[in-house]
């Protein structure tokens, strides 16, 4: 189960404004009624993007200028609320490989990292700088350098924040931890043995 080492991501950006963007907005609950994650890309921000009859509303993700973007920019506490992995799955299936936000909700951050989506933090003024730049030139190439903790776009170079464990996991190609977890069978059995749990 060798995973790709994710050292840097380069792509075009799109900005979805607002703080506290919750996972109910990212994928409304009715799209969770499914036994797979297939087809979630089109559910992304559905209620903000489409009317009830499916007519597109004004939304950055419906704007042809930002089509093909792979880096999403957001505000504070991005991905708060429900633990639904459907949210990062939807980003991934829609082609997003990095999210730049002021801060992330913890469960979303973990779920996204496990899918190999880099979630890095910049300050609000830094994000605003990038947002202005992509508004002027939607084709602008943004680089999220996971290895060196930097976000670069033309003349803008910003140091970004990323939990050291997430950075290491991405760079080492160990962002999905299942292979490591499976290695420690005996140690797991010992811990279980040691804990004074009620046997069921």
């Amino acid at each position: 189960m060798a995973l790709a080492q994710i050292k840097q991501i380069t792509g075009r950006g799109v900005y979805v404004p607002g703080d506290d963007i919750d996972t109910d907005q990212i994928v409304p609950a009715r799209f969770l009624v499914s036994v797979t994650f297939d087809g979630l890309g089109k559910a992304l921000f559905y209620d903000a993007r489409f009317t009830r009859d499916g007519t597109p509303k004004e939304h950055p993700l419906n704007d042809p200028r930002f089509e093909g973007a792979s880096i999403l920019l957001g505000g504070q506490n991005f991905g708060c609320g429900s633990s639904r992995e459907h949210a990062p799955q939807a980003f991934h299936k829609a082609g997003f490989r990095a999210i730049i936000a002021e801060s992330f909700a913890e469960i979303f951050f973990g779920n996204a990292t496990t899918l190999g989506i880099a979630c890095v933090s910049l300050t609000r003024p830094e994000i605003e700088g990038l947002v202005r730049a992509i508004a002027e030139n939607p084709a602008l190439a943004i680089t999220v350098d996971v290895e060196h903790l930097e976000v670069r776009a033309e003349s803008q170079v910003h140091k970004c924040q990323l939990k050291p464990s997430a950075r290491d996991a991405l760079v080492r190609g160990e962002w999905d931890p299942i292979a490591q977890l499976l290695e420690a069978k005996d140690a797991v059995a010992q811990v279980k043995q040691r804990l004074p749990y009620t046997s069921w």
Partner: protein
């Protein structure tokens, strides 16, 4: 130097440190439901993995199961909902996982079922593919929500990879006012500390007001830790905890009980435990609270006006304007008097027997206002049965409330119970996000169950203390 409960439990469950620095953590109890687990079993099929310790996972159905009696007949009308339930049923059968299905008499919302069965115990690590797993911290467990890939990890290894959290002790001291409940306490805490104030923290709730709470009140409190950004919330185990657990189906018995209680006592935070942060709140300053906006930190007391955009810091203004627009409220005006269309008493926050008893004593002999759809959805089949044996269902139905079968119901708009258009719902649930209750324009106002009941009776947002003439007994 003393340790907090969080540190003790974390250390006891540490298997090893992973190459990226995270901890491989043993999980003592894993709870699964029909919405976030079918995909995990699918991933395991693809990887050829089995279930490592099936006796430590329990399943139920809650998210998509209809709550109207006739709609629960199988197959469900919604094909996909049926398929998800079948998938869970078959996976449980295949791997030997115990399943509290809808004909078991034990089905219910996963965070109601765990504690009431005695599965949730102090000192455990508990996971579920649901962010409100923090609820189980009420019994002194370290419990948190996980994504579906992690459900796969826990099923196949009984462990997961996680970075440790810091611990913030939140002390609430003093006596709560009349008509102020655990729900008001947690709404007030989120209001003070923010919806992301708890990111990176486990919340330890303490102080005399918390110690005085019943186990079910503590569940309400811990349930909404995640709404404050804290993935984990807990209360140190004490006599209230042990009394609650005694004689529950999966609790230890006989000599095992004595040993267990001794262990449970030992996991409580040491008196000299060191915390990363401490916050103190005076219980007397907490009003009956409710949300006015689109996140659970947008909270006011029932007597306060809705915030005016010009009165908030510039950095928050855009969010306030957006929330007011969505909620169709005017800044600076009272929230009291807003018409409600639907009222919902239920969810993993407030659907337990004590919630239903508290509400029933106030609505007895009163009537739900004309045109209001009022739902009471007990948290589990056990809660429903106990409530019915006390005649609470009659009190509710005579007052004009619908008495439903157990499930998540309106809380998340995944089953037939949904808002329509821009209906406004007074709700005892935990999230007031845009579209949360199944209608993209639907509006949710969070509050205690007694406040919800008052709104149902008056047909508008109002002060339960006035409606029910609440006085200190």
């Amino acid at each position: 130097m003393g340790k907090s409960l969080f540190q003790k439990v974390w250390d006891a469950h540490t298997v090893r440190t992973l190459p990226d620095g995270r901890t491989q953590l043993f999980i003592g109890l894993h709870l699964i439901h029909e919405v976030t687990s079918p995909q995990a079993f699918g991933m395991m099929r693809d990887l050829g993995l089995g279930v490592a310790y099936p006796e430590r996972t329990f399943a139920t159905v809650d998210h998509i199961i209809p709550t109207a009696k006739d709609a629960r007949l199988r197959p469900f009308r919604d094909n996909l909902a049926e398929q998800m339930t079948v998938e869970l049923t078959e996976s449980c059968k295949k791997f030997g996982i115990r399943f509290f299905h809808e004909n078991s008499g034990n089905q219910g919302i996963v965070h109601v079922v765990g504690p009431e069965q005695g599965l949730t115990q102090p000192g455990m690590t508990i996971c579920c593919g649901d962010s409100h797993t923090s609820t189980h911290g009420a019994l002194g467990a370290v419990a948190f929500g996980i994504g579906t890939s992690q459900v796969r990890d826990v099923l196949s290894t009984q462990t997961l990879a996680m970075a440790p959290l810091k611990v913030r002790r939140i002390e609430v001291n003093g006596t709560l006012g009349v008509g102020v409940y655990a729900k008001d306490v947690i709404l007030h805490i989120i209001r003070k500390l923010g919806v992301n104030g708890g990111t990176g923290f486990a919340y330890e709730f303490a102080g005399s007001a918390i110690e005085a709470m019943s186990m079910e009140e503590r569940m309400t409190l811990c349930n909404m830790s995640i709404e404050g950004g804290a993935r984990v919330g807990y209360v140190n185990p004490d006599e209230t905890t042990f009394t609650y657990l005694q004689a529950r189906p999966y609790a230890p018995t006989g000599a095992d009980w004595e040993r267990a209680v001794a262990y449970w006592r030992s996991v409580a935070s040491d008196p000299d435990a060191v915390y990363d942060d401490v916050v103190r709140i005076d219980a007397r300053e907490i009003p009956p609270s409710l949300t006015w906006g689109v996140n659970p930190g947008q909270v006011i007391g029932i007597d306060e006006p809705v915030p005016a955009p010009e009165a908030v810091p510039e950095s928050e203004r855009a969010n306030v304007v957006d929330a007011l627009k969505y909620m169709k409220l005017e800044g600076g005006k009272p929230i009291k008097g807003q018409k409600v269309n639907v009222t919902f008493i239920g969810s993993c926050t407030n659907s337990r027997l004590s919630d239903l008893r508290e509400v029933a004593q106030h609505v007895r002999g009163k009537r739900v206002a004309e045109g209001v759809k009022a739902l009471v959805v007990p948290g589990s089949q056990r809660v429903k049965e106990a409530a019915e044996s006390e005649g609470l269902h009659d009190v509710f139905t005579q007052a004009g409330f619908e008495w439903r079968e157990p499930g998540c119901s309106m809380c998340l708009g995944m089953n037939p119970d949904k808002l329509v258009g821009d209906q406004l719902c007074a709700s005892s649930s935990n999230r007031n996000f845009k579209g949360r209750m199944g209608s993209p324009e639907g509006r949710t106002v969070l509050m205690s169950p007694v406040m919800v009941a008052a709104a149902a009776i008056r047909g508008e947002l109002c002060d339960a203390r006035e409606v029910f003439s609440l006085e200190r007994s």
